[in-house]
């Protein structure tokens, strides 16, 4: 047996490897202050997670990948359930069932892949999707990626994990590492293992488009900052899947770039939310406010990351989203059938609209946590809690403004060369904006010699602090629009949650079985007798 063929060290896995190291180091620094009990257990599982992640990205053997992938599910379970409290263990169970079930899918997909190509390696030869078996194989592997990355319809473990698990765990696994790994495997199979046909491409594109819109609509009405971020972690996966679904070098590169960007800014957002929660003791938007004055660094880094995720130029989220739009418009150009063209155009619409909704929901968070009237007094977090977010916020700016000269070079190496079909010169544009701002500030300095601080102007009415408008109810109007109201109430009842639906079906089935187990001996004996009679009938008739 040759062990050298079992591993792969190409630019793609090395690129992902670098980011796994980065996130592990940053989270370790952060957790040193944040995690107060069971530190040793925590760090052991974090390191094992990092190790298993390296296993996934550097192995090329189907069985090895499955083993490491399965181990990641276990470590996720142990980390979510770190403190053994009731809510966390319930959600850890749910996560483990979803991830475990899709591990089964992965195994099944790999089995079919091996059956069709008769190779144990993912990148040895490319399988053309031309019949049902190869399509099923692709979809089952993709399902495992979706569950890991948190794409609809297997997303339901993320929002609740985000709310109940220890915060560094959320920032480490669902927000960054699981995205890196899930999307890595998707990129790997799209790039090296399969030639996608139209059905496969459009399955990905439609799933991506639906994920973007639905998840962000859910995020819009959340009241808990961590749960809100969890929904955004789902919505952003939609963009990556959209890009990768095009299966062109530009689209895959865009998806990969967006995945890296997402890991950076989402990690930063979660850690900032952790800082806020650590200082104030709550993550409910209703109880927060006016923290900009007390926690300036947290505020600025949160704002940078929030602008990145909403795709405000010149930050990194904009560049990758812009590449995804290009990938889609380029892909649309290569199609000839009208219905398919319309689907791509509508996906482009949903991606652009989703980015607007993202911005809107982050405006809500920024304003209700950091602006407005202070409801709690707090002080800035300690250096160990701030260092990771500062580094991540800087990365947001660097990967945005200097995208072409830094990260895109490595992505080109990993994916192959591609041409941009649009135009965006981030350095020049940022310089112009910066110059304008500096000139503006100088003009302001010179023209406003007379500066006066005064009370808030309310037009003569008394200012009653108790009756202030609540910023977190910004979007109440939206959830009151008749059509959306219905959908929201269904979503609150978890009708769209596959896990909950399956649970309901299983309960119905087990209720039938429960009737049989009434604990009375004659009943069991009757069943045994019927069974034996059946066997006799089959074998001796």
């Amino acid at each position: 047996m040759d062990f050298r063929n079992m591993f792969i060290f190409d630019p793609l896995s090395k690129l992902i490897g670098v980011f796994i190291v980065l996130f592990t180091v940053l989270i370790s620094i952060y957790s040193a202050k944040f995690i107060k009990h069971r530190k040793i257990t925590y760090y052991i599982w974090v390191l094992l997670t990092a190790l298993a992640s390296f296993g996934v990205i550097f192995s090329d053997n189907l069985i090895l990948i499955t083993i490491f992938w399965g181990f990641l599910g276990l470590s996720l379970f142990k980390l979510i359930n770190l403190y053994d409290d009731e809510k966390a263990s319930a959600i850890a169970k749910k996560t483990f069932i979803i991830i475990g079930a899709t591990d089964g899918f992965l195994l099944f997909g790999f089995l079919l892949y091996h059956f069709l190509t008769s190779s144990m390696s993912l990148s040895a030869n490319k399988l053309i999707i031309n019949n049902n078996l190869s399509f099923i194989s692709f979809i089952f592997i993709a399902m495992a990626c979706f569950a890991k990355a948190g794409c609809m319809p297997l997303h339901t473990w993320i929002p609740e994990t985000a709310k109940n698990a220890p915060l560094p765990v959320v920032a480490y696994l669902p927000a960054s590492l699981d995205k890196l790994l899930g999307i890595y495997l998707l990129v790997r199979i799209v790039k090296d293992s399969f030639f996608l046909d139209v059905t496969a491409k459009f399955t990905l594109i439609i799933i991506g488009a639906i994920t973007v819109i639905c998840a962000v609509m859910m995020a819009l009405i959340q009241h808990d900052i961590k749960k809100l971020l969890g929904y955004h972690a789902i919505s952003q996966v939609g963009y990556m899947v959209l890009g990768i679904g095009c299966a062109t070098p530009l689209g895959i590169a865009a998806g990969l770039f967006h995945m890296i960007n997402h890991a950076i800014y989402k990690c930063c957002l979660f850690l900032d939310a952790g800082n806020v929660e650590n200082e104030t003791g709550t993550s409910e938007l209703h109880n927060l406010g006016g923290l900009a004055r007390y926690m300036p660094i947290t505020f600025i880094t949160f704002m940078v990351a929030a602008f990145s995720i909403s795709g405000v130029p010149p930050f990194n989220g904009f560049v990758s989203k812009w590449m995804i739009y290009q990938g889609l418009s380029d892909f649309m150009n290569s199609l000839s059938s009208y219905p398919l063209k319309i689907i791509v155009a509508l996906s482009l619409l949903s991606a652009l609209v989703g980015s607007g909704l993202t911005l809107a929901s982050f405006l809500k968070v920024i304003s209700s946590v950091f602006l407005g009237n202070a409801r709690k007094h707090a002080k800035e977090s300690s250096f160990a809690l701030l260092l990771p977010v500062i580094i991540l916020a800087l990365l947001c700016i660097i990967f945005g403004v200097f995208a072409y000269s830094t990260i895109l070079k490595f992505i080109t190496q990993a994916i192959g060369s591609f041409n941009m079909v649009g135009l965006w010169q981030p350095v020049g544009a940022t310089a112009l904006i910066a110059i304008s701002i500096v000139i503006g500030l100088i003009v302001f300095k010179f023209s406003s010699q007379k500066l006066r601080v005064s009370d808030t102007y309310t037009g003569g009415e008394e200012l009653n602090p108790k009756e202030e408008a609540k910023i977190e109810d910004f979007y109440a109007t939206i959830s009151e629009i008749p059509f959306l109201k219905k959908i929201y109430s269904l979503a609150e009842a978890k009708v769209f949650d596959i896990y909950e639906e399956l649970k309901r079906i299983i309960f119905v089935l087990s209720n039938v079985l429960k009737r049989l187990h009434n604990g009375i001996l004659p009943t069991y004996l009757t069943w045994c007798l019927i069974g034996i009679m059946g066997l006799f009938f089959v074998f001796f008739r």
């Binding site: 812009w322 418009s329 652009l352 607007g356 920024i366 602006l371 544009a429 023209s447 102007y457």
Partner: protein, 309 residues
């Protein structure tokens, strides 16, 4: 280098677009005045308005998040300047400057974004109401404009370069000369109306009920920055619409400018008519109008555009 600086600063950059925008706003005021049987302001009114603001003192509310309060109007203006320069360079000099239509779409979000952040940082309850309205309205009009932009992209053979969109129109016919083009043009007009905060979509600044809402706490030079950026938007939004949908090819330069100014005045006139025959909408009605009437219309336009209609 000198050329770029001239392009950026004078023509067709900052000074040109500010001047045209100020004249456009004046035209709008004049039209409105005539609708109401008034005389209306003289042509230099907007310039002296802005000038006066830079001579006044600045008042900062005591509880405001000061840095954000001061920088918001400046960032707002910086983004608007960049957009205006990009659009004007493309239209008048045929130069692709800094970015494509998606970049412009995203840059155009920055002014609204920092208007809202500036309002929120002032901690004024009325500004808060204005900001909440502006956010919701932004959701409404941006989506509608996105559909209109996608129609223009499809019409130009799926290119997102502004230069290609105008070039395709010159080669064949203007985008507006088709069913989907007309739909997209109408949607873009409503977008401009709402983006510029003109009645019936001026809930965010509603003077009569929340006293200018988002900008209530601003005064002096800071308000001046807001005014300038608004005046420049009066230039760049109609220009964006014209270059997306009604680019006409002409040989002579004089005719080119003449066509632009005619179209520009026409768009200002249409907006002013809409303004004067409608009352202010409630925010919920506006959302319903944009989402359940205009958005499906835009999707219909996308479908039509894919079939080449």
């Amino acid at each position: 280098m000198l050329k770029i600086v001239t392009q950026y600063l004078i023509f067709p950059g900052i000074i040109f677009s500010f001047f045209v925008g100020a004249m456009g706003f004046w035209l709008e005021r004049k039209f409105t005045a005539r609708f109401q049987y008034r005389v209306g302001p003289p042509w230099y009114q907007n310039f002296i308005d802005v000038m006066k603001l830079f001579l006044k003192e600045t008042i900062i509310p005591r509880n405001a998040a000061k840095t954000l309060f001061i920088t918001s109007p400046i960032i707002n203006l910086a983004a608007v300047i960049l957009v205006s320069v990009m659009l004007a360079n493309n239209y008048f000099l045929n130069i692709s400057f800094m970015g494509d239509v998606i970049v412009i779409l995203y840059l155009l979000v920055i002014p609204s974004l920092f208007t809202i952040l500036g309002a929120l940082s002032s901690k004024n309850p009325l500004a808060l109401v204005g900001a909440a309205r502006e956010t919701k309205l932004m959701l409404a009009y941006e989506f509608v404009f996105i559909t209109s932009l996608i129609i223009a992209i499809i019409k130009s053979g799926n290119s997102i370069m502004l230069a290609n969109i105008t070039a395709t129109q010159i080669l064949s016919k203007p985008n507006i000369a088709s069913a989907s083009g007309i739909i997209a043009f109408i949607l873009a007009l409503f977008y401009a109306q709402a983006k510029l905060c003109i009645v019936p979509f001026d809930m965010a600044e509603a003077e009569q009920e929340i006293m200018a809402g988002t900008v209530i706490e601003y005064s002096g030079p800071l308000l001046g920055f807001y005014k300038i950026s608004k005046l420049m938007l009066y230039f760049s939004l109609p220009l964006f619409i014209i270059s997306l949908f009604i680019k006409v090819h002409t040989q002579s330069t004089l005719l080119k400018y003449l066509i632009f100014f005619c179209l520009y005045i026409l768009i200002i006139f249409i907006m002013s008519v809409i303004k004067n025959i409608n009352p202010r909408m409630r925010i919920k009605d506006a959302l319903g109008f944009f989402w359940f009437w205009l958005l499906p219309l835009g999707i219909l336009g996308i479908v039509l555009a894919q079939f080449g209609l």
